[in-house]
């Protein structure tokens, strides 16, 4: 098969199989599980075939998809990608089996579960094999969706849905940051693939730095780095198979994978790489372990250790920025990732299993080891995995931690930066916390089930340990219970829903199964944890079959030819081994001490609710107070925006819009006395306009309006527009009479509610002033140049002058129009050939510029206005006539009565708002009384 289709099929197989399970009838449980297993199995098989045929350095496979948006099906099956792909498919297979045992024969659950889980598998495989940036993004965002579906599994539990949303928002925002970063990188370098980046080495410039920061933000959100880590413990409300798979072994590794994919390009180029990654990584590492120690819920403990381990993995890549003996300072990074999966997945699997049969609360698990026939197996596997967590000697984890310490040591040697003391301390502290967690788990699980304090005092050492543990554990229990009660901490609240129901023996609403399937509650964990010890005790085996093929750190091949050889280094104690010893020793001591045993509430748990509240409360108040639902208020806002816009543009161009033109505009007064009269009339107009807003009575207001209109008429007359004055005066008279007529029919005015007058006045004045200014600017202000020309092609200074010049003399008909609709006109004839006589009198031929503008320059407009007015009048007339004609006698009588009562003649059927004014439902409109007198 063509390699690209081989890989694509491997990617799509799980999702396809998952989707096919939906077609099976719900009762076909075995077929469903079979088909579900087929998905990851097929992926594994195809990946195996691929490696067998093409090896692990096969290069890049390309097929165009949407090259327009740089989206192509370009896959890069190199060692790093293949390693992750095998991890995803392999653990996926085991989790599928585990899910069958976990959910039991719950048909509905499995019906829903496999499609979601397998969709996730596909997206994860896509991420690790994608070479193209956009393809990576596509799968990356899809993991957020499938993660959302799986975290919100308990769909009737509001907490679960809330936590799912929190995870989605955090990782989704990270995904979008990643998108921004990758686009930035792609556009900056012109390369849209990781492999392509080899061809164009990066520079340490601002764009690259920004791209890196954004990409890292995406990776950090996905990989739960401080301070975005809080979504991961929150995501533990998901069923345990999901936690084991997505939130420990695979999805959270996507960020680590991305950083691992990018370090060869960035690490040595950007100085910000080690600073950012080491800083956040180290903080995450210590903080996660510190919180984990103080949790009592098994899943919470493991969630925070996951956070911690993710911090460590990030640090590991951060250290790659330094060099050691001429090579990048990175040792066996894939081994580190593998190691984490090999102990964290079993831990979760067993946490779920134990929660299934007993409880997940540590205080309730005292002596679980001794409880029954299967409990000792579960407890053993859990403790073996926890031994891996503690990086005890003999496990792969020990080796991996040793590698990490070596890296820290080498980087310290290389730079001798004082901050490395902090990093060394942080590494030791993390190791110490992990060991302490193991000790506490062991002492709790192995404690004798019945604890009688008076008897146990003289017993064996193991019981002595149990004693030490007994008190604080009980304390922690009560504390946790209290916590659950009155803070309803989501993490402790959940067990009431699903897993902890196992404590009462119920499981998931189904009886405990017997027979074949229940062994898969612990078997997958046992299988995986076995590799821990194989890796630790017989490293050659792991090296031979896995790491030699998949470990991409070929940079080290010269320096440390094989995985086995590095163990030789361990026999010569150096600082790293001392660090390990210190961590184990301190951890054992801390484990037995009564320190740090109270339930710790991670303050960042409140980060998302806090952010949400900030947005809804703060933002809601800020924006919502504008969104009142009052039409009048909206109108005010629109005008404000209008004025604001003008102020804004004036702010940008003060010279052009304000300062400049008055120097050029001329107020030419033709008669000396004219100005005084004009001033008086203008004063009258203004006075009446202001009075209008003050006067309360309707009739008086109409009269004042009339006074205003008549003053305007006088202004027209004064400035020699008698025709306009005539028009205006007739309209004024008619409207005044009509107004008074109608008012006499209206009911008496209801008392007006208090309105804020001053702001309204301010807005009105501002709008008026702005309009005035702009109109003035555009008519007498200078025009740029050549916008208007007179008939000789000379530019006319402004619009006002254009009208004046063209009102009598006018234009040259032989000219070529400058534009389609008239405007300026240019005579193309040479000046000496112009026939001046013919040119003259082609204007409007009117002396009165206002008249000419109305009936000539914009004559069509006036005609349109008249037409519209006429049509409207005809319409009104028709409606009125119809109304009279079609009215039933009864209606007429009623109307007559209403009229006699002096009420309801003009009735506007806009109802009053009903219900409480709620900022989210406001649809208010001024009531009838207010409409009449605006």
């Amino acid at each position: 098969m063509n390699p690209i289709w081989l890989l694509t099929t491997a990617i799509l197989a799980p999702a396809a199989c998952g989707a096919f399970t939906l077609t099976l009838p719900r009762r076909d449980l075995t077929q469903r599980v079979g088909l579900a297993i087929l998905g990851p199995a097929l992926s594994l098989l195809l990946l195996g075939v691929f490696v067998a045929k093409h090896g692990t350095d096969a290069g890049v496979f390309f097929r165009a998809w949407m090259p327009q948006l740089q989206l192509n099906l370009q896959l890069n099956a190199d060692r790093l990608g293949l390693f992750f792909a095998f991890l995803v498919a392999g653990v996926g297979l085991l989790i599928t089996l585990y899910a069958r045992a976990y959910f039991g024969p719950d048909r509905d659950a499995l019906y829903r579960f496999f499609p979601s889980l397998h969709l996730f598998m596909t997206t994860m495989l896509g991420i690790v094999l994608a070479d193209n940036f956009v393809l990576l993004l596509l799968f990356w965002e899809m993991t957020s969706v499938s993660s959302f579906l799986l975290i919100g599994w308990e769909r009737d539990d509001p907490t679960a849905v809330k936590k799912a949303m929190q995870a989605f928002v955090v990782t989704g925002m990270g995904g979008l940051a990643l998108m921004t970063g990758l686009i930035l990188l792609g556009q900056h370098t012109g390369q849209w693939t990781f492999s392509g980046l080899f061809g164009s080495p990066l520079q340490n410039d601002a764009t690259t730095r920004w791209a890196f920061v954004l990409i890292f933000a995406g990776a950090a959100a996905k990989s739960a780095q401080f301070p975005l880590h809080f979504w991961l413990p929150g995501a533990m409300v998901a069923p345990t198979p999901v936690s084991a798979y997505l939130h420990s072994a695979t999805m959270v590794k996507a960020g680590v994978y991305l950083v691992g994919r990018l370090w060869p390009y960035f690490a040595t180029v950007l100085p910000i790489w080690p600073k950012l990654i080491l800083g956040l990584g180290a903080l995450t590492m210590v903080y996660g372990a510190f919180v984990a120690l103080q949790k009592t819920d098994l899943k919470q403990i493991f969630a925070y250790t996951t956070v911690s381990q993710l911090g460590l993995l990030m640090c590991m890549y951060g250290l790659a920025a330094f060099t050691h003996e001429g090579q990048p300072n990175l040792i066996w990074d894939v081994t580190q990732v593998l190691n984490h999966a090999l102990y964290k997945a079993p831990l979760f699997i067993l946490a779920g299993a134990i929660g299934h049969v007993a409880s997940r609360q540590l205080p309730q698990l005292r002596g679980f080891f001794w409880r029954n026939r299967t409990s000792w197996i579960m407890a053993t596997v859990l403790l073996l995995a926890a031994y891996g967590l503690a990086a005890g000697p003999g496990t792969l984890s020990f080796v991996a931690k040793e590698f990490f310490f070596y890296q820290v040591y080498h980087a310290f040697e290389a730079s001798h930066h004082p901050a490395f003391y902090l990093l060394i301390a942080a590494s030791i502290a993390t190791g110490m916390f992990n060991v302490a967690i193991f000790i506490r788990l062991a002492t709790t699980l192995l404690a004798r089930p019945v604890v009688a304090s008076s008897e146990s005092s003289g017993e064996s050492e193991g019981d002595g340990q149990a004693m030490v543990d007994a008190h604080p554990a009980a304390d922690a229990h009560t504390h946790a219970a209290a916590n659950a009660e009155h803070t309803a901490a989501p993490l402790t609240a959940h067990p009431a829903g699903h897993d902890a129901s196992g404590a009462s023996g119920g499981g998931h609403g189904h009886a405990h199964e017997t027979g074949f399937w229940p062994i898969f509650l612990w078997l997958p964990g046992a299988i995986v944890v076995a590799f821990q010890f194989i890796g630790g005790l017989a490293p050659g085996v792991l090296d031979r079959f896995v790491l030699q093929h998949l470990e991409p750190s070929r940079y080290y091949e010269r320096h440390l030819p094989s995985f086995v050889d590095i163990l030789g280094h361990l026999s010569h104690p150096q600082l790293p081994l001392i660090m390990s010893g210190l961590a184990i020793g301190l951890g054992v001591v801390l484990g037995f001490l009564p320190l740090l045993r109270r339930e710790y509430d991670d303050p960042l748990d409140h980060a998302y609710p806090g952010f949400y509240n900030l947005v809804t409360k703060g933002g809601g108040r800020a924006f919502g107070s504008l969104q009142t639902g009052h039409a009048a208020w909206y109108v005010a806002l629109v005008w404000l925006a209008f004025v604001g816009m003008f102020a804004w543009s004036v702010g940008f161009d003060f010279d052009g819009l304000v300062r400049q033109w008055p120097a050029e505009a001329r107020f030419e007064l033709e008669r000396p006395g004219e100005f005084g009269q004009g001033l008086l009339l203008t004063f009258l107009v203004c006075l009446t306009a202001i009075l209008l807003t003050v006067v309360k009575d309707r009739a008086s207001r109409v009269l004042v309006l009339g006074a205003c209109g008549f003053s305007v008429t006088a202004v027209y007359y004064l400035y020699r527009a008698p025709d306009l004055a005539l028009t205006q005066i007739s309209i004024e008279i008619v409207s005044l009479v009509l107004f008074l007529l109608v008012l006499s029919l209206l009911p008496s005015e209801p008392p007006r509610p208090r309105v804020w007058v001053m702001p309204r006045v301010t807005i009105a004045v501002a709008v008026g002033a702005m309009m005035f200014w702009l109109t003035l600017t555009s008519s007498v202000g200078p025009q740029p140049s050549g916008a208007f020309r007179d008939r000789y092609g000379q530019p006319i200074a402004n619009l006002g002058e254009f009208f004046l010049r063209n009102s009598y003399e006018g234009v040259d008909t032989t000219a070529v129009p400058l534009n389609r609709w008239g405007g300026g006109v240019v005579n193309r004839a040479a000046p000496d050939q112009r026939d001046t006589k013919q040119d003259l009198h082609h204007g409007a031929g009117g002396d009165n510029a206002v008249n000419v503008v109305l009936v000539d320059l914009r004559g069509f407009d006036t005609m349109g206005e008249i037409t519209v007015l006429g049509l409207a009048a005809m319409g009104v007339w028709t409606i009125l006539r119809r109304r009279r004609g079609f009215k039933s006698p009864k209606e007429r009588v009623e109307e007559e009565e209403a009229r006699l009562a002096g009420k309801r003649f003009l009735r506007l059927d806009i109802p009053e708002p009903t219900g409480e004014p709620d900022s989210r439902h406001q649809l208010r409109f001024p009531t009838v009384g207010q409409v009449g007198d605006s």
């Binding site: 948006l69 686009i183 639902g629 940008f652 052009g656 050029e664 140049s785």
Partner: protein, 559 residues
């Protein structure tokens, strides 16, 4: 020179729509029910006819241009693409509104208190004339796309909006609808006044209303190095932009949106979310193009759009988060998406080589693509709401649609797909839209704006997921049931959802199309004869001292 007849000859699709609208108007007012019922199919047919005419016309009128070779679609140009998008979405909208008129009771006089709320006899009701308003508005939007003159643009914008005022008020028998109609009308009229005022200032500054002449004027009058626009022109463009913000539902003209969408019938709300928005954006593209190529645009314009984009998306998303009414949520999402689309508006394609060839960098293309993506998804969401009712009322709140996915899986799936596409999740069309849009904005250096948009997208995810959550994660609402006689609505919704998926997986051609139809030459496109005429005029122009060329000089230019 283009004559009026030449111009009209390019308007056959619009003429087809107008004819259809006239027919619908007459059919809708007929006394016979069967005639009235024919109005819907006639409307749909006229849209189909318009599409056909658009294609023939695209083949004929543009074949003579420089872009001779290439597929038929690529010859359409921005105008053609926008018209095509409006027609296709318009067809879907007509489907969605298909049964709307029959749910209204023409005999019930809203002014008579006689039988409030009594079920209307469906057999007697049918307001076919509603389709006429749909078609009128679509015509307006298409004319907007083709506008090459300020007056034309204004008329087209008003033709788009005026029918929608009627639609809002009359397509639903509920007092909310009347109130929404009145609000929409008043604020719309004021916004129209604002942008008309802007237009007049543009005219005042350049002496012409013709886009080509304005551009030519600016090209020839404002030479380097100053590149300064007349301040009056800038002020005019700014006012026009702020007025057009009403059409696209952007801050500071967004106040009406939620109230109006809530009051309007769901199919009408879908119409409002797409058609006026498209008209507004196309007008904005044309107007901002007047200010010249991107590098010489006045800072005030760029900053206005920048601020508007940031405020619009934040306002929309924050307020969207507070709602419990899905229609209001979608209204605020409409605002928020306008904010994203403004990103495209400030990143127009340029002729500089690194940007010229690839779609990522062509913000106008991204804007057009996003409009399509947004239109499909939002249409699907509103159409789903239109398919549902609870206690005889339109389903509106989260509680109303609770358990939709469990009780009506198909409708739930449609709503979910549409909503996820609005979030921008792959492999849906919204993802490509965001990629295209953000990519273009980043290419133009608006990194901070993109970061704001990213944070906003995360906020928006919450309320979109509330919708999904209500569908699947909530206790089902007992009273939720499919609305009667809504077959075409359901078809419309399904087509929209399928479109969102299909375009997301195989939208490469459409991306190409949006890119090629909006690539750089659009802004400099000008028929040669007109350009020559301009040059001749300039050549005989009396020589003027260079300081006359821009306004910053304070010299008095009066003779």
């Amino acid at each position: 020179m283009t004559t009026v007849t030449d111009k009209i000859a390019t308007l056959w699709p619009e003429i087809a729509l107008l004819t259809g609208a006239g027919a619908c108007l007459m059919l809708g007012l007929s006394r016979s029910l069967s005639w009235r019922r024919a109005a819907g199919p006639v409307a749909a047919l006229s849209i189909v006819a318009a599409v056909a005419l658009l294609f023939t016309q695209g083949a004929i009128s543009e074949s003579g241009h420089a872009r001779a070779a290439g597929p038929l679609l690529a010859q359409l140009g921005l105008v053609g693409f926008a018209r095509l998008a409006i027609l296709l979405l318009g067809f879907l909208l007509t489907l969605v509104a298909g049964q709307l008129p029959s749910r209204l009771d023409p005999t019930a006089d809203p002014h008579s208190p006689s039988t409030p709320g009594a079920p209307a006899p469906v057999a007697r009701s049918m307001r076919g004339e509603l389709f006429a308003f749909l078609l009128f508005s679509l015509t307006g939007a298409m004319l907007c796309a083709g506008a090459d003159d300020l007056v034309w643009l204004f008329m087209a914008l008003e033709l788009t909006s005026l029918p929608t005022y009627v639609l809002v008020a009359s397509a639903r028998d509920h007092h909310e609808a009347h109130e929404a109609g009145v609000k929409y009308f008043f604020l719309g009229a004021m916004a129209a006044a604002v942008f008309l005022y802007g237009f007049t200032l543009i005219y005042g500054a350049t002496g012409t209303t013709d886009f080509e002449s304005i551009r030519a004027y600016l090209t020839h009058q404002l030479r380097p190095p100053h590149h300064e626009l007349p301040p009056l022109l800038t002020a005019g463009i700014l006012l026009a932009v702020i007025g057009l913000a009403f059409k696209i539902a952007a801050v500071p003209m967004h106040f009406y949106v939620a109230d109006v969408y809530q009051g309007a019938a769901a199919p009408v709300a879908a119409f409002l979310a797409f058609v006026p928005k498209t008209a507004g954006f196309v007008a904005l593209v044309n107007l901002t193009a007047l200010a010249g190529p991107v590098h010489s645009r006045p800072a005030s314009l760029t900053w206005t759009l920048w601020t508007m984009a940031a405020l619009t998306m934040t306002t929309g998303n924050v307020l969207g988060l507070l709602q419990d009414n899905v229609k209001r949520v979608l209204a605020y999402s409409s605002i928020a998406h306008s904010g994203y689309m403004l990103l495209g508006l400030i990143s127009p394609p340029t002729a500089t080589p690194p940007l010229a060839d690839q779609p990522l960098g062509n913000g106008i293309g991204a804007l057009m693509f996003y409009l399509l993506a947004y239109g499909l998804a939002t249409l699907g969401a509103f159409a789903t709401l239109a398919c549902l009712e609870t206690r005889g009322q339109e389903a509106q709140t989260y509680d109303d649609i609770a358990g939709l996915g469990r009780r009506h899986p198909a409708l739930g799936a449609i709503l979910t797909v549409c909503v996820l596409s609005l979030i921008g999740l792959p492999p849906l069309v919204g993802f490509l839209g965001k990629l295209y849009l953000f990519g273009s904005a980043i290419q133009h250096g608006y990194l901070w704006l993109v970061v704001i948009a990213v944070i906003n997208s995360a906020i928006s995810a919450v309320y979109y997921l509330y919708i999904v959550g209500a569908c699947y994660f909530a206790e089902p609402n007992e009273h939720l049931q499919p609305a009667p006689t809504a077959l075409t609505t359901r078809i419309g919704a399904a087509v929209a959802a399928v479109g969102a998926v299909a375009l997301g997986i195989a939208g490469g051609r459409v991306v190409d199309l949006t890119h090629h139809t909006t690539a750089y030459p659009m802004h400099a496109q000008m028929p040669d004869d007109r350009l020559n005429a301009m040059t001749q005029i300039e050549s005989i122009e009396p020589p003027t001292p260079p300081q006359h060329l821009h306004l910053s000089s304070t010299q008095n230019r009066r003779p």
